[in-house]
Symmetry: C2
Subunit: 255 residues, 2 copies
């Protein structure tokens, strides 16, 4: 088996659990017969340094999180990382991602930064070529920023829930009384119900594939299908893309 | 609330999942009202560079993994880490740990490296002052190295399973057909049964507390008690000790 070329870097801390989730999916998607055969990775998590992505997208925060993200990429490169991923959907809104790319160029970094949403597009085109309409589930930040409209470049038609449904879906993540972020180890039934309501609504709107565009949802719904249509987890797709970049022959076959 | 002082570094890759487990326990043991309030941490995982700890302890491998571990600590310090933990029980065998300490001194590193087993001793003395006998469950490497005999410094009497039982317990981790490492997402009943058999045997030998001295076991048995006696997870104790070092006021109260 060919050894890997390069080291995977993860920009974590957005939130901290999403970085760990990405790191752990890199392991679960790698074919390795022993501990030693797993891929080298660096996970940098500086939660307090990176301003809130959603608040920046919504104009409630003036500092672009891209600046702190670029500093993390610089440190990752210094430690040998050759390719990197950001474990955060919202950080891929053009207003943030494009600024990160500008910073990478300004600092002459050579690290390759993957784009989670574009990787989702490539993945769907590759694995589910017959899919036309994609239903996207995410935070209100993801919804408002039109982040996943970038999938249209891949010939995909993007469906969202209504504004009222979006408010409920957002609460399934952030509610202090029943949200996934507050109870990650024992997710309240109400959060799961709200997530399933949104999945059902997107299916009724014609989606023939669902994208979980928020790292909390896979904690609440672990099945690969929802009422007959596939469910794709954006962090899982990014994990696979990072493996592909350093050791394609170690990528676990997709079921 | 006082902000944290310093950055947590994790020497991961031994195996890779243990590093992620430690990182994730740092998050679950931290009191933080938002993503931004979580503690900064760096997880460095270079699985192929660090020789197998058990094989070195058993004399089947000549290169001391301490050398590669020290290089990781050097990189962690370069990136700002002020305190570090190794997510691997076996790396705390004196033959490895003492060499790591020597390397830290030789390289004039200032990073503080915690000692997982000593932290377990402190934790038991602090939280379970009436405990006298501790039953330890681990790999055969842990068993042969007498790693947990270091708990005797804390006035604790250490109980192990018999050699025959140890072989079964080891297989519950490493077996290719039913071991936890091969099926982390859907652990076979046989692995769970073997682990519970070992717990029961230690209880019968007079243990009034059990230590899971291997990061795989908590995946197979998630309860805080086993038939009326407490179960302590060494990675969880290390996570709490790392938080204590940088932000003691953010440490989640112990139930």
């Amino acid at each position: 088996m060919v050894e890997q070329k390069g080291i995977i870097g993860i920009v974590g801390g957005m939130g901290p659990s999403a970085g760990i989730d990405l790191s752990s999916k890199i392991i679960s998607q790698t074919v390795a017969g022993s501990d030693q055969k797993h891929l080298p990775q660096l996970l940098f998590s500086f939660p307090s340094s990176i301003s809130d992505r959603t608040r920046f997208i919504l104009g409630q925060e003036t500092v672009n999180p891209a600046l702190a993200i670029a500093r993390v990429l610089q440190k990752l490169e210094m430690c040998g990382a050759t390719v990197a991923g950001m474990a955060c959907n919202s950080a891929h809104a053009p207003v943030i991602f494009n600024e990160v790319v500008r910073q990478i160029e300004n600092h002459n970094l050579t690290i390759r930064l993957l784009h989670m949403i574009k990787e989702v597009g490539l993945f769907i085109r590759d694995r589910y070529p017959h899919v036309k309409s994609v239903g996207v589930l995410g935070t209100t930040g993801t919804f408002v920023s039109g982040l996943y409209e970038q999938l249209e470049e891949f010939g995909l038609d993007v469906r969202n829930v209504s504004e009222r449904e979006q408010a409920s879906l957002h609460s399934s993540i952030y509610s202090q009384t029943y949200g996934i972020k507050s109870f990650p180890d024992n997710i309240p039934a109400r959060a799961i119900d709200l997530l399933c309501d949104a999945c059902r609504s997107l299916k009724e709107k014609g989606a023939d594939l669902l994208v979980f565009g928020c790292t909390e949802f896979p904690l609440a719904y672990r099945q690969p299908m929802f009422e007959g249509i596939p469910v794709i987890d954006s962090n899982m797709v990014l994990a696979r893309a990072l493996i592909r970049e350093v050791a394609p022959d170690k990528l676990r076959p997709w079921k």
